[in-house]
C-alpha cells in the first residue's frame, strides 16, 4: 500500500507540472500563418524585445494539462455548491451558445452605433427588464461586477449630494452584516464608514440608525434580503429615516434571487440598487468572474448613472438624410463617467438577457419561490444540528452557527463536507454570527440533493460526537489535503521562476 501511494503521488505531481516545467525548446502549440505582404523594415533593435520566456508546448499537452486541472475543481456542474451569498445555481449552456454567436462575439465596442444595432438593442431590453424587476426609473449596465456596481452606485449618491451643495455629507452607514465590498466601495468613493448593528431579529437596528441620521449623513447601504438570509422588515422605516435626514439609500441586490417578482426594491424606498447578474441571472461564475453588476436608480439619481447606457431614439430624419439609428449608447447628462473601457461586460449581459427572456415573468416567480422554499426546508431540517441565531423564516439562504458540537466548528464541518462530495457553505460570514455556516441551496437543486446534504451533515455531526478530533484532519479524499496558508503568506511564491 505504501508503494502504491508513493507511485500515485509521483504520478499526480507529474500531471500537475506547470507549463514552464513542461516546456521544451522547439515545441509549439499553434499553426501559424505566413506573411502575405511584402517584407517591411523593422524598427531599431534597441526598441525590440529580446529574451521572452514563454512555454513551448504542443496543443495536445495543453489539452491534457488543462483538462486535468479542471478535474481538480468542484463546480455547479459536478457538485452541490451551497456557497451562501453566491447563488451557485445551474448555468444554462444555452446562454453560452448565444454569447458565442459570431454576430455578438465579434462585434467591436468602438463600432459606430449604426453598425451594432443588434447588440445595443439587447442592452436596451435588458435595462428594461432590470428596471421592471427593481421598480426603478433607469438602469446602467456599465458596472463589471457587484463591487463595481456598489462603487458606481454610491458615486451617484455622492454626485447628487455634491450637486445639492451638500459636500459635507460623507458618512455612509453600513450594517454589521454587510458584505465586505460594501464598506470597501464606500471608502473608494470617498465616504467614511459607520457600522450599524442588527437588532435581535436580524433587522437593522432603527435606534442606532436614528442616532446617526444627522447632517453628515450621505446614506446607508443595506443588503436586502440581508446576508443573514433575512428580509429586513425595517427597510421601509429605514428608508424613511434616511430620506428625512437628507441621505440616500443604497440597496445591495446581490441576493435578488429571493425576491424576483415578490417585491420591487424601488417600492420600498431604495434609491439605487445593484444586481449581480452572475448570481441571480445565472451567468457562470468562472472560478471568480467575469460578472456584471448593473445598477438601477430612481429619478433623482438617474442623471448620474455611469455610462454609456443604451437609449432608444425616436426615428427622425427627412428624405435623403441619413436616419439616426434606433438604438444608441450615451452618457447620462451628469454621469459619474466611465468606469470601464467599454459600456459593460456585454457577453455577460447577453447571457442574463437570454436567461430572463427564456424564463419570462412566470419563470422569475418560479426562481424566487423555489429558492426560498429550498432554504426554509434546510432550515427546518438542520435546526436540530446547529444553532439558529435568528429563529425566523428565511429567504434564499440560511445562516447557522456551528457552535453546538465541540470538534465540529464551521471550518471542520466545511472541510469534511468536501469528502462527501458537497462544496462547503460560506463559512465565517457574516461576521456577526460566530462559527457561521451560510447555506444557499438555490432553486436548481432537487429535494433528493438537499436530503443527501442533510444526511451528510448529520453523519458529520455523528463523527464529531464519536471523536472530537476526527474532523480536524478533514478533508481526506480531496486532491490535496489542508494547505499551509501561513507559509504561503509568509514567503509568497506568486509565479513560476526558473530554478537556480
Amino acid at each position: 500500500m505504501a508503494a502504491r501511494n508513493a507511485t500515485l503521488t509521483a504520478e499526480a505531481h507529474d500531471r500537475r507540472r506547470l507549463l514552464m516545467e513542461r516546456s521544451r525548446p522547439g515545441r509549439t502549440g499553434a499553426s501559424l500563418p505566413a506573411s502575405d505582404v511584402p517584407e517591411q523594415p523593422l524598427p531599431d533593435a534597441s526598441l525590440l524585445r529580446d529574451g521572452l520566456e514563454l512555454p513551448e508546448v504542443t496543443e495536445g499537452e495543453v489539452v491534457r494539462y488543462f483538462t486535468h486541472l479542471s478535474q481538480l475543481n468542484f463546480s455547479v456542474d459536478t457538485h452541490f455548491y451551497p456557497l451562501g451569498s453566491c447563488t451557485m445555481k445551474y448555468n444554462p449552456r444555452f446562454n453560452e451558445a448565444m454569447a458565442a454567436v459570431p454576430g455578438f462575439a465579434s462585434a467591436h465596442p468602438a463600432q459606430p452605433e449604426r453598425q451594432v444595432q443588434g447588440a445595443i438593442e439587447v442592452m436596451y431590453r435588458l435595462q428594461e427588464y432590470l428596471r421592471e424587476i427593481t421598480g426603478m426609473a433607469a438602469a446602467s449596465l456599465a458596472p463589471l461586477a457587484g463591487a463595481q456596481g456598489e462603487l458606481a452606485g454610491v458615486l451617484t449618491i455622492r454626485a447628487a449630494l455634491d450637486e445639492r451643495g451638500e459636500g459635507r455629507r460623507r458618512k455612509m452607514l453600513i450594517p454589521d452584516t454587510a458584505h465586505g465590498t460594501n464598506p470597501a466601495s464606500a471608502a473608494m468613493a470617498g465616504f467614511y464608514v459607520v457600522s450599524i448593528p442588527s437588532n435581535a431579529e436580524g433587522n437593522i437596528d432603527l435606534d442606532a440608525l436614528r442616532k446617526e441620521a444627522d447632517g453628515e449623513l450621505a446614506g446607508i447601504m443595506l443588503t436586502q434580503p440581508s446576508t443573514l438570509g433575512l428580509f429586513d422588515r425595517n427597510a421601509i422605516e429605514m428608508c424613511r429615516i434616511v430620506h428625512e435626514a437628507g441621505g440616500f439609500v443604497y440597496g445591495d441586490g446581490a441576493n435578488m434571487n429571493a425576491l424576483l417578482g415578490r417585491v420591487k426594491l424601488g417600492h420600498l424606498g431604495f434609491d439605487v440598487v445593484h444586481l449581480n447578474l452572475h448570481k441571480t441571472f445565472s451567468t457562470p461564475h468562472g472560478g471568480g468572474g467575469p460578472g456584471a453588476g448593473p445598477i438601477c436608480t430612481n429619478e433623482t439619481l438617474s442623471p448620474f448613472l455611469p455610462g454609456p447606457v443604451a437609449i432608444r431614439r425616436t426615428l427622425r430624419g427627412a428624405q435623403g438624410e441619413r436616419e439616426a439609428p434606433m438604438y444608441g449608447l450615451e452618457l447620462p447628462p451628469k454621469s459619474i463617467g466611465r468606469i470601464g473601457g467599454s459600456a459593460g461586460n456585454f457577453g455577460v449581459l447577453l447571457r442574463a438577457f437570454t436567461y430572463i427572456s427564456l424564463l419570462g415573468g412566470q419563470g422569475m416567480l418560479d426562481i424566487s419561490g423555489n429558492a426560498v422554499l429550498n432554504a426554509n426546508y434546510l432550515l427546518v431540517m438542520l435546526r436540530e444540528l446547529y444553532d439558529l441565531p435568528f429563529d425566523r423564516r428565511v429567504m434564499h439562504e440560511v445562516v447557522f452557527s456551528a457552535k453546538k458540537r465541540p470538534g465540529a466548528n464551521a471550518l471542520n464541518v466545511s472541510k469534511r463536507l468536501l469528502d462527501h462530495g458537497f462544496h462547503a457553505p460560506t463559512m465565517y460570514f457574516p461576521l456577526v454570527v460566530a462559527e457561521a455556516l451560510m447555506i444557499e441551496p438555490t432553486e436548481t437543486e432537487s429535494k433528493e440533493t438537499l436530503d443527501a446534504f442533510i444526511e451528510a451533515l448529520t453523519d458529520i455531526d455523528a463523527e464529531a460526537a464519536r471523536d472530537e478530533t476526527f474532523l480536524a484532519n478533514a478533508p481526506f479524499d480531496t486532491p490535496v489535503s489542508r494547505l499551509d496558508e501561513t507559509a504561503a503568506a509568509r514567503h509568497p511564491q506568486l509565479r513560476w521562476r526558473r530554478e537556480g
Partner: protein, 440 residues
C-alpha cells in the same frame, strides 16, 4: 393540441416535492414564505413577457446578432484598445469545461486546485510577458487596471496627484478620473514630451504603444517620474510586448494591460481581463486576488489565495480595493492562448501585425490626399489623415462591406485610427486601399 403549461427546465422541484417540503416547513403555500414582505408591496405586477422556448429565442437572438455589421462577416480595421486576433479553436472547449465555468472563487482550495493553478499560470505568463516581478490574478479590464494602478501609486507615495500622458486611451483617462476623483486625487494631463511634473505627483500614467499605435520612450518617462519621486504606471498591449521591449526593462513600476488581446473575442466590450503587474516591493499594496504556491499536510504542492489581508472581505473599508468577483475565466482563456502561441508563436503573430500594418500604412501614405500625421515607430495601429471627414470615410467603407477605423478627428484633421492585425489578409488590405483610393 393542448398548450403545455410552462415548466422551468432548470428547476427540479415538482408539485409533490413542493407539497412535502411545505408540509415539513409547516406552511400552506409558497406565497406564505414571503409574508415578511409588507402586504401592500408583495407580489407586484411584473411586466416581463411570457416564457420562450430555447428554439424560438435562438431564432430571435441570431437575427439580432445579424443586425450587427460584424467582423465575423466583414474585414475590420478597427482597434483602439480592442483587437481582433485569431484564437485557436481548442481554447474555448477547454476553458469552458463545466468545472472551470461553473465554479466560484476558490475559497475551498482543496477542491479548487484547477482554478488556483490555472490562475497561477496566468500570473506567471503575464509577469513574464511584461518582464515584471509579480502579477495579480487579474482585474476587470485594462481601463480599471490602470485606474487601480493610479490609486495604488497614491497609496505607495502618499501623494494625491496623477499625471496622465495625453496619448493614453481617452476612455482609460476617463476611468482614471472616475476612480480617483472621489478620493480627492487631482488628475492632470501632460504631453508625451513633457520634461517636468507638478510637485507631489504620485505617478505618471502612460500607454505603450500609445493610443495612436506609436511607441514612446518608456524608459525616459520612467526616469522623469522617478526623478520626481513618482511611480511610472504603464498600460501595455500584451501582444505588442512580444515584439517590443518589456516594461520591466524600462524602469516601469506598475505595468497594466488589457488582456483581451490575448485571443479573447471582442464581444462588444467584454468580458475581458485586466492585467496588473508590479515590482515585488509593492506586493502588499496590490489590489485584487493573488494565488500563491504552498504545500498540504502531506507535503504535496498546492495553491491557495494568499495575502488576503489586503482584501475587502477581511479589511473592509481599509482594503486595497473593493474588487471581489473579477475575471478569472478570461484570465484562464488568456493563459491558454498564450501557452499555445508560446515563445515562438506570440512574437510571430506580433510580427505579422507589424508587417501587415506597415504594408497598409505605407500604401495609404502613397494615396493622393492621405498622409500619416504622426512620425515614429508604430506597432499595428496608425493614424491616417483622410481627404474627407473620418465619419464619411467610415460610411463609404461600410458601404463597401468594410469596418473602418476609429474617428480621431478631434486630435488629427480628418483623422482615422486604423488597425491591421494578423487576421487581415493582403486581399482585405488591398480592398481597403481600393476604397480609400476612391475617396477624394
Amino acid at each position: 393540441m393542448p398548450e403545455s403549461p410552462f415548466v422551468s427546465p432548470y428547476i427540479p422541484n415538482t408539485d409533490d416535492d413542493r407539497a412535502s417540503m411545505l408540509a415539513t416547513i409547516g406552511v400552506g403555500s409558497v406565497e406564505e414564505l414571503f409574508d415578511d414582505i409588507p402586504a401592500e408591496h408583495r407580489h407586484p405586477h411584473l411586466d416581463i413577457p411570457a416564457p420562450r422556448s430555447e428554439m424560438d429565442l435562438r431564432r430571435e437572438l441570431e437575427a439580432l446578432a445579424e443586425r450587427n455589421f460584424h467582423a465575423g462577416a466583414h474585414p475590420s480595421f478597427l482597434g483602439a484598445g480592442v483587437y481582433h486576433h485569431y484564437c485557436p479553436a481548442v481554447v474555448s472547449p477547454l476553458v469552458t469545461r463545466g468545472e472551470f465555468l461553473t465554479s466560484y472563487t476558490p475559497y475551498q482550495p482543496e477542491v479548487s486546485q484547477g482554478t488556483l493553478q490555472g490562475t497561477y499560470e496566468f500570473q506567471t505568463l503575464t509577469a513574464q510577458l511584461f518582464g515584471m516581478e509579480v502579477s495579480n490574478a487579474g482585474m476587470y479590464d485594462g481601463a480599471s487596471s490602470l485606474a487601480e494602478a493610479a490609486l495604488m501609486a497614491c497609496r505607495i507615495t502618499g501623494r494625491a496627484k496623477v499625471a496622465v500622458v495625453d496619448t493614453v486611451n481617452p476612455h482609460y483617462a476617463e476611468v482614471v478620473r472616475a476612480y480617483t476623483g472621489p478620493q480627492q486625487i487631482e488628475v492632470y494631463a501632460i504631453a508625451p514630451d513633457a520634461t517636468e511634473l507638478e510637485p507631489e505627483t504620485a505617478c505618471v500614467l502612460s500607454q505603450y504603444p500609445n493610443f495612436f499605435g506609436y511607441v514612446e520612450d518608456v524608459a525616459a518617462r520612467s526616469e522623469l517620474a522617478h526623478r520626481a519621486g513618482a511611480l511610472h504606471c504603464v498600460s501595455c498591449d500584451p501582444m505588442a510586448m512580444a515584439m517590443f521591449r518589456a516594461p520591466g526593462e524600462c524602469g516601469v513600476d506598475i505595468a497594466t494591460g488589457e488582456g483581451q488581446a490575448l485571443g479573447v473575442p471582442p464581444s462588444f466590450g467584454g468580458p475581458y481581463v485586466g492585467i496588473f503587474t508590479c515590482r515585488q516591493e509593492y506586493l502588499r499594496q496590490l489590489p485584487g486576488r493573488l494565488v500563491g504556491r504552498t504545500v498540504d499536510t502531506e507535503g504535496r504542492t498546492g495553491y491557495v489565495l494568499t495575502l488576503q489581508p489586503r482584501e475587502q472581505h477581511i479589511r473592509r473599508e481599509h482594503a486595497t480595493s473593493n474588487i471581489c468577483t473579477s475575471t478569472a475565466l478570461i484570465g484562464l482563456w488568456a493563459a491558454a492562448y498564450t501557452a499555445l502561441m508560446g515563445k515562438h508563436g506570440l512574437p510571430h503573430v506580433a510580427g505579422l501585425c507589424y508587417q501587415k500594418a506597415h504594408y497598409a500604412a505605407g500604401r495609404i501614405a502613397e494615396l493622393p490626399g492621405y498622409r500619416l500625421p504622426i512620425e515614429g515607430t508604430f506597432f499595428q495601429e496608425f493614424v491616417v489623415s483622410c481627404p474627407k471627414p473620418a465619419e464619411e470615410v467610415s460610411i463609404t467603407l461600410e458601404e463597401a462591406g468594410i469596418i473602418g477605423g476609429l474617428d480621431v478627428s478631434d486630435r488629427f484633421e480628418n483623422g482615422m485610427l486604423l488597425c491591421v492585425t494578423e487576421v487581415n489578409t493582403k486581399d482585405e488590405i488591398d480592398g481597403l486601399l481600393n476604397v480609400l483610393a476612391g475617396i477624394k
